[in-house]
Amino acid sequence: MSTATIQIETRHDPEDAVRKALAAGTPPARAGALSTVLTFGWRGMLKIKHVPEQLLDVTLTPVLIVFLFTYMFGGAIAGSTGEYLQYLLPGMLVMSLLFSTVYSGVGLNTDATNGVVDRFRSLPIPRPSPLIGAVLGDSVRYLVGASVIVGVGMALGYRPEAGLVGIVMAVALVVAFAFGLSWFFAAVGLLMRAPRAVSAAGSMALFPLVFLSNVFVEPETLPGWLEAFVDVSPISHLASAARALMAGTVPGLELTVSLGTAALLTAIFAPLTTYLYHRN
């Protein structure tokens, strides 16, 4: 005689599990403003961890330009490649970081086309936190970019007269400026339709501005009308200030103009970005 045995599979009961998980969700005290900002900064780090290739773009291009300009044009521009590298490198530090700032806009644009912004906006956290955190996270990216460009420069023979202190001060200044410019691109990122459009528009705006500065050549060699433009460009001031800090001289007006521009960009575009992020 055969007995039919019925086996009842004991399975993970989803309803029960969910109910338990729900009951365990006791609310903690609300997160502080600083803590939420740092958490959003951490989110930026995680993205670099998952897609490290995103750093290639902004670090590799300036490195290529350093090689090209130093060995192709260095002799013609400054008489020797070593001489030119000494002039070029602080400017390349500026160029490298300024191009990285476009990514603040690309990142926010990507977020906005995704549902995750709705989640962030419905959380009980300070309104500017997601943005300040994102821009701060980007500043870490700038430090990576700065290390690479300075490292490559030193390997090629660049020697800052002011040594490590000069490098640290110059990098700090350029990162501060990049922080300010990040806010501009963050606002642009929230106004444009697609991430690709943001990066295209950013490069298109930055390329002429970086070339029409004293990053690559001494302005004295330019025609008068162009020299006048280059002399007032904040990018020229920033490059001059970085050069001075690395050379161990004290930048005056250049430093003031650079920091003032960064402060002005932040003052205008940080609130505008916050408004755009939370608008309907």
Partner: protein
């Protein structure tokens, strides 16, 4: 008890336009605490905008809304402290892993890293996502994404949860899983406002339903009341032999005293307004007449039929619901 404490949501005259398009034109809602409330309507009816207004993401142009006693405009921060939102696009970060998403949100809600991590582990387990925990959300299926999304919504147990079309685009198995989760949430005492395009979903989950169309609530009531107002569903029959369809139509129209529709499928026909007894009788008649029946089903009124009954108008969802009933029939 005052109305203040028994209602989770009270909204009156909510209006919102985007440019020239009027998304919401005068929505009133009264959602009791502890209930599951369904907002039913086709795409573009104003469901999402209504939810976004109530979740403080969109400011209404006119009207007032109080969520858990707090005004959504003046006291938005207090509202945010008591709600959670699962948006129509999954509201999770695709470029992070499932675990990182939960830790991130846990920290933003005030947990320290260690506690946020432990809470993430609990939720990943409860929502059957342990294996996927370390993978980027980008590679998740629709159902996994939705489960993660809901897990993220209950890191801290919300008093009120918004679920905007939680099952749109999911396969039937994931949909059933999600329904179980919603039932468990409701059993836990959380008030849920759910939007959906499917009458069946609202019927399965909601205690009360508001039907919304062109930015207005056009009907409100329990699922039973709503379906009663529409009448019963349609009997769908598919014959073994398409050549006998004319005979079958004749028999059905006689036994059911209804207009019989012939379907695009040459062997299929349907008749509205049948209850189970009448349907059984009609199928019996077909069999006595020697007409072979391949499949038959007694469908619920579809959203399309509800709309037809409520507005006298076919909805723009016509194609979508037709596809749905076809699948239902195939399943039957």
């Amino acid at each position: 008890m005052s109305a203040f404490s028994t209602l989770a949501i009270e909204a009156s005259g909510l209006k919102k336009s985007f440019g020239t398009s009027r998304a919401v034109c005068g929505v009133d809602l009264a959602v009791p605490r502890g209930s599951v409330y369904g907002i039913l309507g086709p795409n573009g009816a104003g469901k999402t905008t209504t939810i976004r207004i109530l979740a403080t993401l969109v400011r209404p142009d006119a009207g007032e809304a109080r969520v858990l006693g707090h005004d959504v405009v003046r006291d938005a921060d207090a509202v945010r402290g008591a709600i959670s939102l699962t948006g129509q696009l999954a509201s999770v970060d695709e470029e992070l892993t499932g675990e990182e998403n939960l830790i991130l949100l846990g920290r933003l809600l005030g947990f320290r890293h260690g506690r946020a991590k432990a809470r993430a582990a609990e939720l990943l387990d409860a929502f059957d996502l342990v294996e996927a925990a370390g993978r980027l959300v980008k590679g998740y299926s629709g159902g996994m994404r939705r489960r993660l999304d809901i897990a993220a919504s209950i890191i801290v147990t919300p008093e009120l949860m918004f679920l905007d079309e939680p099952t749109t685009g999911l396969d039937p198995r994931s949909r059933n899983q999600l329904w179980d989760i919603v039932r468990a949430l409701a059993a836990g005492g959380t008030t849920i406002l759910l939007s959906t395009q499917y009458l069946e979903e609202a019927d399965q989950l909601a205690d009360e339903i508001a039907v919304i169309d062109h930015g207005r609530v056009i009907a409100e009531g329990t699922p039973r009341q709503l379906k009663a107002s529409v009448g019963s569903g349609a009997l769908h029959v598919r014959l073994l032999d398409a050549d006998r369809r004319a005979d079958a139509a004749h028999i059905l129209s006689r036994t059911l005293a209804a207009d019989v529709h012939v379907e695009p499928d040459a062997a299929a026909l349907s008749a509205p307004g049948a209850d189970a007894d009448q349907a059984a009788e009609a199928i019996g008649e077909l069999s006595r007449a020697g007409i072979g029946v391949a499949t038959f089903s007694l469908g619920q009124p579809t959203l399309d039929e509800v709309f037809l009954a409520l507005t006298g108008d076919r909805t723009e969802q016509e194609e979508a619901t037709d596809v749905m009933t076809a699948t239902e029939r195939n399943a039957a």
